[in-house]
């Protein structure tokens, strides 16, 4: 008979670090439980002991750091949705949080959990990618900062060492005049896993694009930035022809697969179409102004 797991319940970050240093590898960190408990219930987490960090309040909260917001890893989606700071400075993160599961998930699921779960379909991740977020990673050895876009090393693999914990995300604020965007194409309208999920941000200089960042999920082994398409768009004048070029380029830039939820063909072309949604919005917004 398999060993039933133990659960450690630290109350401080130092206690977490200590526990991780002591028995790294054998410990599964559990926060809101919305991903991990699903595996546990399905008997897919044999022989793992839990480190339950839910009570560590140091890991909660959103603070204004001038040009960026610091979001504690245990901040829930519900907290993100309701936070005036997030609504004002990272609107795409509010939009993303609203599409995650349903309210029961949003009440327990955390930003840090979404990050370390490392699913390519994590719905908040394209926002962090597009916003060029940085992650604060801590351990008994100290704290380091890693660019979010360098955090994933492969399918469900990250740069985290066994004794480390993601403690916060530092997300630059949207700048004045900058437009942001979020779109999830899922299997249904609630409780859906994404087929394609995109977040983007752009700054216009008259009719041309001064800067643009595009983060996409569910179309590659990890969340990705569409750097080639960004390069095409930056400095260019936003015309229907350019939109069509960008649509085709991004469809080739992503590397999706056919799986349970969708097909490679659909994911490629709809990634392109979703990008055009954003670019059209920019044109329409400019015309409205």
């Amino acid at each position: 008979m398999r060993q039933t797991p133990t659960v450690q319940s630290p109350l401080t970050l130092n206690e977490i670090y200590a526990a991780l240093a002591e028995c790294a590898g054998d410990l599964k960190i559990i926060a809101g439980g919305t991903d991990l408990m699903v595996l546990a219930n399905a008997h897919q987490l044999e022989a793992s002991n839990f480190l339950d960090i839910w009570r560590v309040d140091e890991l909660r909260g959103i603070s204004d750091e001038g040009d960026a917001l610091r979001i504690g890893a245990l901040t829930t989606y519900t907290q993100l949705i309701r936070a005036p700071l997030i609504q004002q400075f990272i609107p795409a993160l509010v939009a993303a949080s609203r599409t995650i599961g349903a309210v029961q998930i949003q009440n327990r699921g955390t930003l840090g959990g979404n990050i370390v779960n490392a699913s390519p379909a994590g719905d908040s991740l394209p926002v962090l990618a597009a916003y060029d977020a940085a992650l604060e990673i801590g351990s008994q050895r100290g704290t380091r900062r890693v660019a979010f876009n360098e955090f994933y090393t492969g399918y469900r693999r990250t740069v985290l060492a066994a004794d480390e914990l993601v403690i916060a995300a530092r997300v630059p604020k949207v700048k004045a005049g900058e437009r942001d965007f979020f779109c999830k194409v899922g299997t249904r309208r609630a409780q859906a896993i994404s087929k394609i999920v995109m977040s983007a941000k752009a700054q216009m200089n008259a009719a041309s694009i001064a800067s643009i960042q595009i983060g996409i999920g569910s179309v590659a082994p990890t969340v990705m930035r569409a750097t080639q398409t960004e390069a095409l768009l930056v400095g260019a004048t936003l015309t229907p022809d350019l939109i069509e070029q960008a649509r085709q380029m991004i469809a080739n830039e992503v590397t999706p697969i056919t799986d349970l939820r969708s097909t490679e063909h659909y994911r490629r072309s709809v990634t392109g179409n979703v990008l055009t949604k954003f670019l059209r919005q920019i044109i329409e917004g400019a015309e409205a102004r």
Partner: protein, 767 residues
């Protein structure tokens, strides 16, 4: 008056307070937990079964086919489905062994220590594979069952036709996905083996257990517990679970509870039959159908189970609510190495409804005429004759439902408005730089035969009864089960109405085979129309006996029963309750049973498969309005308007709930629900990846109940449970056709499938 009123649902209070106990909510003293060990191949044979010697097996009860006292078959139509595989494996997740233990951890651990080795054979996994006969897995041609029906002269009809239009339609598996997973508890005893759990048909289980264990009627007791949904999925399969639990309980001599988890439930239990349906229709230029040839093939899965009956309903409904003098319909059910398909609300009809309605759209498009007009030209009306040669003599609400749905949805005006807005868009459908949402509106028109097919009801002779309890109130004795659809509520209304009592005075006995007669299964939209009628007749008999009794007692031959009182003119002689008590005191009991007799007008020929296939039909029309996102190919159903003729709504709110619920399941069928297979194994067997509609996917619905009374139903009622599941898929597909120009001949209309169809339209346009 109780009938036609929205009284409090009989089971509402318990369900809303959490007090209702379902099978998984009950734990018995000394109870073991059971588990089924299943095959991990689709086809082959068992080479060996090994039990790890290191594991302590003393705490585990193990049963295999050799422990079955009787024949190793699940009693249904044919004795071909073993309760436990002996050697040959015919589908993935086929039961091989049963184990039981005192707790679930031990049970899971034991399961990990059983190793089964197989010799794998090449499986037959699709309709095409089965028909190609490269591997023979059933009989000589892989065909479980054939039907051929028709009338007139099809060749002559096609000769008269000015256009011949062909179409091929494909429909998928659909999982019932009752929210309560399947489950049963078996309790061994000296006098009887008791089975209690989640089920639609206690007497099916009763029969299966008797056969497997060589027991007589009294030695098996089957009790339905509060059941969390069935939709057909708890018609035949609970017999398997009950038998498995009973086998373990018999061996352990302790109660055994066997509950499926969701993954197992989806992987192993029956689904709606997938099918391929071909239409060849001859029409005149004015739209009149003069010849129709239909070929339908259903995939029955690995064993016969209920497939012939599903196919029979499919073939009879294949032409839909339309008249055609020259018809030939061929139907075949084939065998594949997939879990047996079975009963699901609609039972063969939703498959053919998608096909016949899309064929109407196709004919209209090819003739360049309005599809509503085409339907009006060909629709069945009172006095018309169906494909089986049945002349419709009563309760035909076809015109009313079509008119109501079209009017309330403002169908014609909307249809015109959308088509004008589309023709003003110059860009092609795959231009993503401009217009991005398209609207469309579509219609479907359908019918559903109520009750068993053909002579089924005449053979079944469903029974039900009423007894007067010690307090003078009536109690209904029926094997019909409450599965959320309102059996208990409507039976109490029918009895209250007949006996002029308040509905709260009527009690409904639990379905328990030791206490209630066999009313036939709770399936086929027959509970209200057929069993409700029998309950009504039993109530009338109770009333007659009491009237006679009171008339003698008061020497008042002209006594009447009104508002719970025995009256002579305006003078009250006594209360119902008082007289009922007195009767029981005097004679010991007052119990009246009735059984169903088919209306004398109904005739069915089983040999030629012709005549009155059903005593009556329910009729429906549905209008779907959709918005298609041309960037993501997602279809949003904006509004559904449906009009359904159900004879009489005994409880309008519950009837509307049946219509909304069936319609929503059909929205899932049309847009979302699909199984993903890998070598005979279902790989999306979770609620996360088998996609059913959430509240956000549920469109606004308007439901119009049309009441064309059926003279042989209780207070005019006919079937309601299944009718609504026929309409939404084709109506949505028709709306998508208008919105995008893409004609979808296959469901579900997933964004991926719609994308492919739209891309095909664009390619064709550019050619």
């Amino acid at each position: 008056m109780a009938v036609g009123k929205n009284i409090l649902r009989k089971d509402g209070y318990e369900k809303l307070t959490g007090a209702a106990r379902y099978v998984d909510d009950v734990t018995l003293e000394g109870m073991l937990y059971g588990k089924t060990i299943r095959s991990r191949i689709a086809r082959g044979r068992i080479k060996s079964i090994a039990y790890d010697a290191a594991f302590d097996w003393s705490q585990i009860v193990i049963a295999d086919y050799r422990d079955i006292p009787g024949k190793n078959y699940v009693a249904l139509i044919e004795d071909d489905q073993p309760l436990l595989a002996e050697n040959e494996i015919r589908h993935y997740a086929e039961p091989i062994l049963l184990i039981a233990a005192a707790n679930k951890d031990l049970l899971e651990a034991a399961a990990h220590h059983i190793h089964i080795e197989y010799e794998q054979w090449s499986p037959v996994l699709s309709i095409e594979d089965a028909l190609a006969c490269r591997e023979i897995i059933y009989g000589t041609d892989n065909i479980f069952k054939r039907f051929l029906i028709g009338r007139g002269d099809v060749e002559e009809g096609f000769a008269q036709a000015e256009r011949i239009i062909e179409g091929e339609y494909r429909v998928p598996h659909q999982e019932q996905l009752y929210i309560e997973p399947q489950g049963m508890i078996a309790i061994p005893g000296n006098e009887a083996m008791t089975l209690m759990g989640s089920m639609q048909c206690p007497y099916y289980i009763h029969k299966a257990i008797k056969q497997l264990f060589h027991l007589n009627d009294e030695q098996v007791v089957v009790i339905q517990m509060t059941t969390g949904g069935g939709f057909g999925g708890k018609e035949e399969y609970p017999s398997v679970i009950a038998a498995h639990a009973a086998l373990l309980a018999h061996k352990a001599q302790r109660p055994v509870k066997l509950i499926y988890d969701r993954a197992e439930d989806i992987a192993a239990t029956p689904k709606r039959h997938p099918g391929v349906i071909r239409h060849r229709t001859g029409v005149r230029r004015d739209g009149r159908m003069v010849a129709s040839e239909i070929d339908l093939v259903f995939d029955g899965g690995a064993y016969v189970t209920l497939t012939p009956v599903v196919l029979s309903r499919g073939v009879i409904h294949a032409l839909g609510p339309y008249a055609c003098d020259n018809v030939r319909i061929q139907a075949r059910a084939i065998a594949t190495n997939t879990p047996p398909n079975g009963a699901f609300r609609g039972f063969g009809a939703p498959q053919v409804a998608f096909a016949y309605e899309m064929q109407m759209e196709k004919i209209a498009a090819e003739l360049g005429m309005d599809s509503l007009e085409l339907r009006r030209i060909n629709m069945l009306r009172e006095g018309d004759t169906t494909a089986t040669g049945q002349t419709l003599i009563w309760s035909v609400g076809s015109e009313e439902v079509l008119n109501e749905a079209v009017e309330r949805a403002n169908y014609q005006a909307q249809r015109l408005a959308f088509s004008q807005s589309h023709s003003s868009i110059q860009t092609s459908t795959t231009n993503h730089v401009e217009a991005h949402k398209r609207r469309g509106i579509g219609l479907s028109f359908f019918l559903h035969g109520a009750g068993f097919t053909g002579s089924g009801e005449a053979k079944m002779k469903a029974q039900a009864g009423i007894e007067i309890m010690a307090n003078g109130h009536p109690r209904v004795l029926s094997g019909s089960t409450e599965i959320g659809q309102g059996t208990r509520t409507i039976f109490s209304q029918i009895v209250a109405e007949e006996l002029s009592l308040d509905f709260s005075a009527v009690e409904i006995e639990e379905p328990d085979t030791s206490r209630v007669p066999d009313s036939g299964p709770t399936v086929a939209s027959r509970t209200c129309m057929v069993v409700g009628r029998v309950v009504q007749m039993a109530a009338r008999e109770v009333k007659a006996k009491l009237l006679h009794f009171v008339a003698e007692r008061f020497a008042a031959p002209e006594v009447e029963l009104r508002e719970g009182k025995f009256m002579v003119a305006e003078k009250a002689l006594a209360d119902f309750q008082e007289m009922a008590c007195e009767y029981v005191n005097l004679f010991g009991e007052l119990r009246c049973f009735a059984h169903y007799a088919s209306p004398p007008e109904i005739e069915w020929n089983e040999e030629t498969y012709s005549g009155d296939a059903y005593p009556v039909y329910s009729w429906g029309a549905e209008v779907a309005e959709v918005e298609v996102d041309m960037d993501t190919y997602e279809v949003t159903v904006v509004r559904l308007t449906t009009a359904q003729d159900i004879g009489r709504a005994i409880h309008p709110l519950l009837a509307a709930g049946q219509i909304e619920g069936g319609t929503l399941q059909a929205v899932g069928y049309g847009l979302l629900e699909e199984l993903v297979w890998d070598q005979g194994r279902i790989i999306n067997n979770r609620l996360t990846n088998y996609i059913i509609p959430t509240a956000l996917d549920a469109p606004d619905m308007e439901t119009i109940i049309v009441e064309k009374a059926y003279p042989h139903g209780p207070f005019g009622a006919k079937g309601v449970g299944e009718l609504p599941i026929n309409g939404a898929a084709p109506a949505i597909a028709a709306a998508v056709f208008q919105a995008t120009g893409a004609f979808l001949s296959e469901i579900p209309i997933t964004p991926e499938r719609l994308q492919a169809a739209i891309e095909k339209v664009t390619t064709d346009e550019h050619r």
